[in-house]
Symmetry: C2
Subunit: 554 residues, 2 copies
């Protein structure tokens, strides 16, 4: 089969105005970035009478290679278009770091891609750069505040704000800044996270409009004074300047799929320390312009869907009409105890055992009130027997099921999935969202509810640090924020090696981070990487420009 | 008078396609970034039969507040349009750092601006962000090389490559990276420069095409091996990936002036440690599409024009038909010994004395073979008497002279200047460039020639460090590169307080930096700031979004 970039290159793109027209966006409203990309005004997210049906694509617990959620999301949108539904897919923007590190791109795959994939995978419309700038501008202004107020009461005792860059660079994880003498700042332990881990990214993706963006920026916690008072961005009086840096980026990016349907690709927060979905504004613009809107949440449903529903949907006042759960034979086998090196080989027994993992995710989604469709994301090495096995199991369990083969066949390979989803919504649309916890619950109760009902833990345990931090959260009055649990994506537990449907484990809470700008409390359950490193052979070695065309992205 | 941003906002912009059409660029060739900005293919820089006349705008030794070169450059282009000449102005892109620090913008002023000024002053088309990304991607890949080869022969002994961010942040000048244990890299002294100081920026601005860009990236010196061999980007095998990151940025940005003539704003290297002018590609595209092309070189003529002519023009094979030297009453008085606090007050004696500074710059430009026009850049507080004094002096000296009042009057205020320039070129076009030094000269000879003939020094003195570095430059075979002297812009000497026409001084060379990618040797004569700090009251405090419009840029 052709590579992703070959397929992308062979697709004749339509002008972006033609894509916009399909979903009723006027040419005058477009802010073009080249011929095939346009921003549309974020004001298009404002309420309209007509609302599309939202469909969430989530997954079972993934393998290290991922599970193809983006490909399924795009494929499903192509399938829906094939059966005559006006569909828009809303996705996250890829980060440059992993693109040049391990992955080489994140814009779908095969015949289910968003295009132009080279641009989307590289600088795109500059949103990540704007977020990087805004974040580091705060850092510079904060350090300048410290420098100008050195030795006075105003100087902060502790700073909790770091810097970000959109690159994989382990050397920047822990740094000491302000070295080299008194005119060069105050020596301070600091570090860089990757841009998707920036609180600005989370804020950007949760903001309803410019005003909301500005208020959230105002509320970012930067550090503590000598009298232990919280010090926010608003105390620096710079929210206007930071909002100005983000103003254009807030307009969502319209592109097209391999079959010329509309796609919004906008924002890209991490799915562990943040909520892992594209911007609220892009989702709302999509809902205002499509009959069906597909969106995706990062990692498995225990992390991605949980946060999508409890954080994003709650904040945005939206709710999916159905949830699609993606499974692959590889992930199933991994959960069934098959060695990772052998998960591409047929192994019916392993596969069958692995279905326990699916069962828990389906139950979890149903507990939210969601109508669930299980989809088997087909790979070239999958056998008919194994697919039948999964299908039979789903039938026995009363779970709607369809194969996705859009990687190889484009929309044609997802027609059955699309019809299954449409039927599910028509016959049995999701109920109003039943959140896992109430905002009024205490932080411990919130964690306990997620840990027990989603992760199937028997209890939670807070470290001493976590207990201390929790007191501070209460003192500062942030107990009513939703929680964003950062734990490994490879297990229901905090142990990355505990596959399958592990239960009755103890969830260990190491620490809390107050993201009062984004509007959630990050609950740290295990070691979370905020700045990836590069592998021995980075993808950058394979990225090249040959006869004016880019190689090495996928 | 209205503020810059008020004037900008009240100007009804033409669609960028209309601007392109004026200079014969087809709509199909445009890569739009919104309605009023477009990139044009860098291939438009390739040779054509028709070539416009190039006019360099430089200045006498400036004050801390600058001297208005950008405003004069834009104003002159407006004046030329007024007298019926098809004119294009080619300028540098502003940096975000100073914009939020001291200056609040750099896109001309008053009725001589390039528009949309808010975009140009902020993220614009993302060129600086692409350069920041490319630079830091090299840093990450280099540190990863060190990490992966730790303890082996391959690990470098010394690294000379740092990181960059487009922000004013003194805390990042000197940092220690790789802290926090063995999985987080190798502890290393490092630091961040501001993006205009990146060698990638200089490379970007000197490259003729993509191939040249790639070759220059290949030749960037990153450090030294244990056997003292030089280690280049090509040794990492990543030039393809870095070129990919810069590919789109290399297309020049077309915008419009306050009077709807064409302007290219592209690239923005420092004028001390780099050559301080917009990209070669933008200048060449402008020359292919205008009858007259105005461009600007940073700081005073001793730094900016010298580097423009000896480095950029030599590399690009271009040559100005005339040079315009900008003077202001404030700068003249400063050079005439008037206290900086009083330079806005009338002071004929101070003004007269300050003309000695003009004389040296005019002589210098004539030594290059340039036809020189002196222009007095008028400020609201200037008196008729003082202007007449300068005019009379110029007449006595046989120097062509004209007032520029385009800040207040737009093109109308530069008609006389424009006509003076056109006449000068028609009567007495510049001779072929007579460079200050030959590339075959030794590095010491090159410095001596610039120091004596341009700076009017009596001799040069190399520190011990500089002498050692010079040996290395010779050993590595870089002696035939041009030199880029980094010294204070406030004096002909290396003493920032020695105003006027100081001569017979000694130029102290502290160090050398090999910019083998950019293709010049940076000669460090004094303390050069590569990462500015923020002032006590940064401009960011005044930048705001009010009713959807940006305030605080100028």
């Amino acid at each position: 089969m052709k590579t992703d970039i070959q397929i992308a290159r062979e697709t004749t793109l339509l002008p972006i105005s033609a894509i916009a027209e399909k979903i009723g966006i006027q040419n005058d409203d477009l802010i073009p970035y080249g011929k095939y990309i346009a921003k549309v005004p974020h004001q298009l997210a404002e309420k309209k009478d007509k609302k599309g049906k939202l469909i969430l694509v989530s997954a079972i617990t993934p393998t290290k290679a991922g599970i193809g959620k983006t490909t399924v999301s795009i494929g499903l949108s192509l399938g829906l278009e094939k059966i005559g539904k006006k569909t828009v897919v809303a996705l996250r923007e890829p980060s440059l770091g992993p693109c040049f590190g391990m992955k080489g791109g994140a814009a779908g795959g095969g015949y289910a891609q968003v295009l132009p994939m080279e641009n989307i995978n590289l600088h795109f419309t500059g949103d990540f750069h704007a977020i990087t700038s805004a974040h580091n501008m705060i850092s510079a202004l904060l350090d300048n505040y410290q420098f100008q107020n050195k030795g006075t009461d105003k100087q902060l005792k502790q700073i909790v704000w770091k810097r970000v860059l959109d690159v994989n660079d382990r050397s920047l994880r822990n740094i000491v800044t302000g070295m080299g003498g008194i005119s060069n700042g105050i020596p301070t332990e600091s570090g860089f996270d990757i841009t998707p881990a920036s609180e600005i990214m989370a804020i950007f993706c949760l903001s309803k409009d410019i005003e909301d963006l500005r208020n959230r920026i105002d509320n970012i916690l930067l550090g503590y004074t000598h009298s232990n008072d919280a010090f926010y961005v608003k105390d620096l009086n710079i929210s206007g300047a930071i909002t100005v840096l983000l103003k254009d980026a807030l307009d969502p990016n319209l592109v097209q799929t391999t079959e010329h349907s509309a796609a919004f690709v906008h924002g890209g927060p991490f799915a562990n320390i943040a909520h892992g979905c594209n911007s609220v504004i892009a989702t709302k613009v999509a809902l205002n312009h499509g009959d069906y809107v597909i969106t995706e949440a990062g990692f498995g449903a225990d992390l991605g869907a949980e946060k999508f529903l409890n954080i994003k949907c709650r904040a945005a006042g939206i709710s999916p009409s159905a949830s699609v759960l993606v499974a692959t034979s590889q992930a199933l086998k991994m959960h069934g105890g098959v060695d990772e090196k052998e998960i591409k080989q047929p192994n019916a027994e392993g596969l069958r055992k692995g279905l326990e993992n699916v069962k828990v995710h389906v139950e979890n989604l149903k507990n939210f009130g969601q109508t669930v469709i299980l989809t088997f994301n087909k790979y070239y090495f999958d056998t008919e027997e194994e697919i039948q096995l999964v299908k039979d199991w789903a039938t026995d369990m009363g779970i709607r099921f369809a194969i996705n083969n859009s990687f190889v066949e484009g929309g044609e390979g997802a027609v059955n999935l699309a019809q299954t989803v449409v039927d599910a919504i028509e016959e049995d649309e999701s109920k109003p969202l039943s959140f896992t916890y109430e905002l009024e619950d205490s932080i411990e109760t919130k964690i306990e509810k997620v840990a027990k009902s989603i992760y199937r833990a028997k209890d939670i345990e807070l470290s001493n640090t976590a207990q201390l931090r929790l007191k501070r959260i209460k003192r500062l009055g942030f107990e009513n924020l939703p929680i964003c649990i950062a734990k490994t994506q490879y297990s229901f537990s905090d142990d990355a090696k505990a596959y399958g449907a592990v239960k009755d484990h103890t969830l260990h809470i190491e620490d809390f981070v107050i993201n009062s700008g984004a509007g959630f409390i990050v609950v740290i359950a295990g070691n979370i990487m905020r700045m990836p490193g590069l592998p021995k052979e980075p993808q950058a070695l394979h990225i090249d420009l040959v006869d004016g065309q880019i190689e090495g992205l996928s």
